[in-house]
Symmetry: C3
Subunit: 140 residues, 3 copies
Amino acid sequence: MKVKRTESGFLVALDVGDEIITSLKKVAELERIGMASLAGIGAVRDVVLGYLDLDQKQYLKREFGPESMELVSLLGNVARLEGEPIAHCHVVLGDREMHTFGGHLFKATTSVTVEIFVRVFEGEISRQFDPNFGANLLTI
Amino acid sequence: MKVKRTESGFLVALDVGDEIITSLKKVAELERIGMASLAGIGAVRDVVLGYLDLDQKQYLKREFGPESMELVSLLGNVARLEGEPIAHCHVVLGDREMHTFGGHLFKATTSVTVEIFVRVFEGEISRQFDPNFGANLLTI
Amino acid sequence: MKVKRTESGFLVALDVGDEIITSLKKVAELERIGMASLAGIGAVRDVVLGYLDLDQKQYLKREFGPESMELVSLLGNVARLEGEPIAHCHVVLGDREMHTFGGHLFKATTSVTVEIFVRVFEGEISRQFDPNFGANLLTI
């Protein structure tokens, strides 16, 4: 993982094998980030996406296999959950036919590179688990 | 709707039942926004998407049912149309199979939460209806 | 192409017939951009998308026909390749059924308008061709 400081945050370039959510948490811990917006692209493999089922109040998960997929879009934010930084990302993947799949990102491993702009804001936002939805919601 | 001020704009966290386009217009009116960029994620229901048909010079619309969908990507901007703030957003939705749908956003109701970063710029940009396309284009 | 200067970069509004990658390169040359993030929406035609095949170490390409498609998402960045500015963009397209396609953007011609926020950063990032992948990777 390479990290370049900018005027308003960081550009994070992940290397092959780096997992996205874990890597973003590491950057957030190291740089003491309490609030940030995220936007990125790249190529990934071994992805787990989620869809929040409001009847079951939990995420349905779907795995995307070992083949590399284009990370067509990653958008999200960094907040704090019980004091720990947590990256909340939604992504769109593209396969070799350019078909797309999308959802809540649980994990994705960099297959070529992932380039994410982390725009850091002063202060902090927090998440809290909401049993009505089965998800960690912002409490700002 | 919860709104947190940042150095460069706002983080808007919509509550269940909040409609996206209407909520963004409210924020823009309240904060006198003349120009902004938008980026967000969340989960929504009762969505209407549009595809601009250049032969008919009007949007074809498609409704997405009462079931919640992941708001996988929202990108767009705020400008002024006849003096009133208007949010122009394109979105990608993900269903429970992680299949995606996308287009111009006419409306979407928050089903869990929607988290949108509003990056405000000084000054103002304007839109004007262009009958050649059937759409409101920027006149910057 | 219309370009509006903002506090942190530019809003680029492309006109019918403007190709995206070429236009972004022009803006980057004119404004001497060494590093920027990109986020945009619009409507395009005559698109070429790519999927990086890691066995062949080259992009598979797919063309999307003459009919206009919604540019549902464009994310990416500007860096330098052999001293020249280069825009690296991934996009999601939506057709008249709101079905989506996505991948690495090789080219796309504006069919109605394309509205891109270019967030410029000080300094410069560089790309270099990596034969292990068949792609230009960041060397920050």
